[in-house]
Assembly symmetry: D2
Homo-oligomer: 137 residues x 4
């Protein structure tokens, strides 16, 4: 695993917290998806554009998540995306969430994405995407 | 306004609360939509079925909501739907949310729904639906 | 009503859309709350800080919303906040949502916020906040 | 692993779907939490009651999820909870989501819950809960 991870900032609002006073656990998955979306957009694969122009979707098929410490209201978080590997139709990423300017990880996850065509069947990753991923692993 | 309101029970889980210890305000709109969905399903207009078989969607175009008192984690709520009136392409409903077996209203709302065709244009309410609504106003 | 509205950008992600292909209606309330939070933060009233240091919360007590046109996946939205007026314990705001660089309003809303103390009772707006609002109406 | 799993029904509403036409992936975590909450409630450990009377919270610390097939609008799902094991302060569960009266699993997950005291530190599982779990493994 080489290359610098992509990072994306996320601010925590009331909508994402719960009565325990912390971010509700499923919302970290939303935060990680925002970072993946921006990472893909930066590579030229905006999700809506992909769907419209290529009939291509990316779906999460597997996720392993460690919830190490909670984020709180008004925190500014840094969500990272790092490529671990890829196959014909899938990409495996490592993602983490930290508070801005802190080292401690709040969330650590491994995420597998599969490319789907418009009938929801696995399909090859686009060649241009593979070439960019090549440089990143 | 006559006829008994339709009522639907909703249990409050952590996902719906916020760091203030109460239900996050936008989630009451979800609770009210669940009740409208079940009310329509009971009239024979399940939303997915409508979309597939008739190319028909119902969209909220206007809402006035009074947030009178908060609901809390583990509360069992009663969400009501009562028809106020209807036009060619729209329905106006009164909705309220109470705790089960309490009189006090937590939420009171007036909601206007419009029937849309599959190009998202307003379209006449189905005749069978109008006939059922006729009896309910 | 004078003064320029405060505006805050919001990007639409998959989490906020629904099977109709557009933003799910209750999520516009979240977008409007993000803009209000940033508006208050800009005035020196960050919500978490207010809660911790002053035992002060802001709660929505009334909202009138017009859903004029839908936002879609990947849209960049501009959410505005404009002060309409204030009383001892409450603030009334006008909010709208547009697509970036479009004039058409997708959402238009009037929102009343009430200041609450830590026992959830209405309480006077802080004097410093009132003075800033004074200049803004 | 013995004993019958606990099962809880969940209906899919618009709020839980996304523009791909299926349930948004993070919402399966909410569905699984609803089932865990009802499982615990059935054992006499309602979450709000635990928090108020015992200062006890349950937090997810690790989750491995396989997203095998998507659920859709209006589906009635069956969410299961089965105890895999427990330690002094934690419980490990297997959870799955299926469509009602179908065998195929849509979601399969392993979830570790930790008991936390009111300072968010791990704490022993209550003795009465352990005795009930004893019978269930």
């Amino acid at each position: 695993m080489t290359g610098k991870p992509f990072v994306w900032p996320v601010r925590v609002y009331y909508e994402e917290t719960d009565a325990g006073g912390v971010v509700y656990h499923s919302n970290y998955l939303c935060f990680m998806e925002r970072a993946r979306t921006e990472w893909l957009r930066g590579l030229g694969f905006g999700q809506e554009q992909c769907r419209r122009e290529r009939g291509l979707l990316f779906a999460v098929t597997k996720m392993e998540i460690h919830f190490l410490a909670p984020a709180r209201l008004d925190d500014t978080l840094t969500v990272s995306v790092q490529l671990l590997g890829y196959k014909q139709a899938s990409v495996t990423l490592q993602q983490s969430i930290q508070r801005e300017q802190e080292q401690r990880q709040l969330i650590q996850a491994t995420v597998r994405l599969v490319a789907l065509n418009d009938r929801f069947k696995p399909t090859r990753l686009p060649e241009e995407l593979v070439q960019m991923l090549c440089g990143a692993v």
